[in-house]
């Protein structure tokens, strides 16, 4: 029994995104599809221990859930004849009685997950809800898991999901892949949701470490799906590469006490070689398409770091060049700051510090703790202790993350001892 429920859980994790995507298309409703899938998994719990595992468990679940949908639509149809429909349903939801065939096509419709991801990340849905909905449906994460990952009370998150699903139904947000002329714009929203999920998991906050790891894994899995479904989009490859390369450093980023270790002090033997290799390969494939974008360039920067066996071997000139390119296509004060740091490392601390000050001139970085931390670091390297201490102090006041605060405090103390 235990073995079967473990198998079922594994199947849920791996396949529920694909299954639910198909069911939503057929049902025309997130809630109805979720309910049917839930019922099918419950049925599996009683049937499989008796009759053994079906040859294709995902197809079995889909078929059972599909039958539930047909039953549901029969009941609905009866009800509808007494009452006009108030909810949105796609035309297919009105005709399942016309002997729906459970053929393979129906179950393996390749565009379903793509439709689902574009609907979940529709700009008419609140961005926080986009993330929650993507994790819930495509990621197969439970509401409590998502709530824990985002440090939110469960009812808040549940409410967010309910509102988003209601908006999809009532405003009739389409369940389809956007037309060609809209796809790149809408794809950006999808990529940004995936990257936000990753960053939430990657941020070195204290808290449930396991669930954070799970978020990163999920983001990577979603990006893989996106690459598989739209392989001709180099930014999809760039996004996947970027996340793999960052994730490769996970075990080297903190010490046993959970304290932050900065890039140039990390034990590089702890970096995940497998992820690095895959990331590097993806970067070259993406750049080979000659349509560079922000994710590809950031991935390329991460790839340069990954090539250096020790921190001093880092090709900072190459990194500065990549940041300059990034600045050209998506200018932001944060990118300008990173460029400045790369210049400091490749051309000299003074030149870098000058660019840091320039990046701060607009005032937009005033409350960004990493701006003050970067400034402090350069001042420290230049031996300007008093200025460095005051900049570290500012960074410390602005930082909210416990792990980062602890790191800044340590630097400030070291400065006092030198």
């Amino acid at each position: 029994m235990d073995e079967v429920s473990n198998t079922i859980e594994a199947i849920f994790r791996r396949e529920s995104g694909r299954i639910i995507a198909t069911l939503i298309r057929i049902a025309g409703s997130f809630d109805v599809a979720e309910e049917a899938m839930q019922e099918a998994f419950t049925a599996a719990l009683t049937t499989w221990p008796e009759k053994g595992l079906p040859q294709n468990p995902a197809a079995w679940i889909t078929a059972v859930a599909h039958r539930r949908l047909i039953d549901h639509s029969r009941r609905e149809r009866t009800r509808r004849e007494k009452q006009e429909p108030l909810i949105y349903e796609t035309p297919t939801a009105h005709q399942p009685e016309a002997e729906v065939q459970l053929d393979a096509d129906e179950m393996e419709y390749p565009d379903d997950r793509l439709r689902l991801i574009f609907t979940c990340c529709h700009p008419a849905i609140n961005p926080d809800a986009q993330i929650a909905l993507t994790l819930r449906t495509l990621g197969g994460l439970t509401t409590p898991e998502i709530a824990r990952a985002f440090l939110l009370p469960e009812p808040t998150l549940a409410q967010r999901l309910v509102r988003a699903k209601r908006k999809i139904a009532e405003a009739r947000i389409p369940y389809e892949v956007p037309p060609r002329e809209k796809i790149s714009e809408r794809l950006q929203a999808v990529q940004s949701v995936i990257y936000l999920i990753f960053n939430e998991g990657y941020a070195a906050t204290t808290g449930d470490g396991l669930i954070r790891r799970e978020l990163c894994a999920e983001a990577i899995r979603l990006a893989r799906t996106l690459c598989q479904l739209l392989p001709g989009e180099p930014e999809n490859l760039g996004l996947l590469a970027l996340m793999l390369l960052h994730d490769s450093r996970r075990d080297a980023r903190t010490d046993e006490q959970g304290r932050l270790i900065v890039l140039d002090e990390q034990d590089r033997s702890l970096w995940d070689k497998e992820r690095i290799r895959e990331g590097q390969k993806l970067v070259s494939r993406a750049l080979g398409m000659r349509r560079p974008g922000p994710y590809q360039l950031q991935a390329a920067i991460a790839a340069v770091h990954s090539h250096a066996e020790t921190a001093v071997e880092t090709d900072w000139g190459e990194i500065a060049a990549l940041y300059r390119e990034l600045l050209r296509i998506s200018s932001s004060p944060v990118v300008a700051l990173n460029y400045a740091v790369a210049v400091a490392m490749s051309e000299g601390l003074e030149a870098g510090l000058e660019l840091v000050e320039q990046a701060g001139e607009s005032g937009e970085l005033r409350d960004y703790h990493l701006f003050h931390a970067a400034r402090a670091d350069l001042l420290r390297r230049l031996g300007r202790k008093t200025d460095a201490a005051s900049a570290y102090g500012q960074a410390l006041r602005l930082a909210t993350n416990g792990v980062e605060k602890e790191f800044l405090r340590r630097r400030l103390e070291e400065l006092g001892r030198e």
């Binding site: 029969r74 009866t78 004849e81 009452q83 529709h122 009739r172 389409p174 809209k182």
Partner: protein, 135 residues
């Protein structure tokens, strides 16, 4: 699904528009109206008079209280609307993006709301419902 597209603008800025700007705005509206009418999805589209002609009625102690002016002083004011019968929200967004907002694009916005319709009366013919369930 029927969508109401509510057009918000700054009335004061609208009043400062040149004749040519006014012309361009009307042309923009006509284009959208012609296209949606030809597709058979235009139900209504009209401008509203300025808010200084508005009268607001609010019940107070069971009696209507009559107030001169709009229900609230807002930064941008409701200036007109469209009712379109669109396939989905994306189609409505498509038209909304093409509706001029009367301030030369410097301010104003379009709010899209669905019109779910009134719930119709419950049919009394139970027999019909049973028949169709069996059939």
């Amino acid at each position: 699904m029927r969508y109401m597209l509510l057009i918000y603008t700054k009335e004061d800025e609208m009043a400062r528009n040149s004749d040519q700007q006014r012309q361009e705005i009307m042309q923009g509206h006509f284009k959208v109206m012609e296209e949606t009418r030809a597709k058979g999805i235009l139900e209504a589209a009209e401008p509203l008079s300025r808010t200084n002609t508005a009268t607001t009625i609010r019940l107070q102690n069971g009696k209507p209280l009559i107030i001169d002016g709009p229900f609230a002083e807002t930064r941008e004011q409701l200036a007109g609307y469209y009712i379109l019968d669109c396939k989905d929200l994306d189609e409505a967004i498509g038209y909304a993006s093409r509706i001029p907002t009367s301030c030369g694009g410097t301010c104003g916005c379009i709010e899209i709301r669905t019109l779910p319709g009134l719930p119709s009366a419950v049919p009394t013919n139970e027999a019909e419902a049973v028949t169709s369930r069996n059939g």
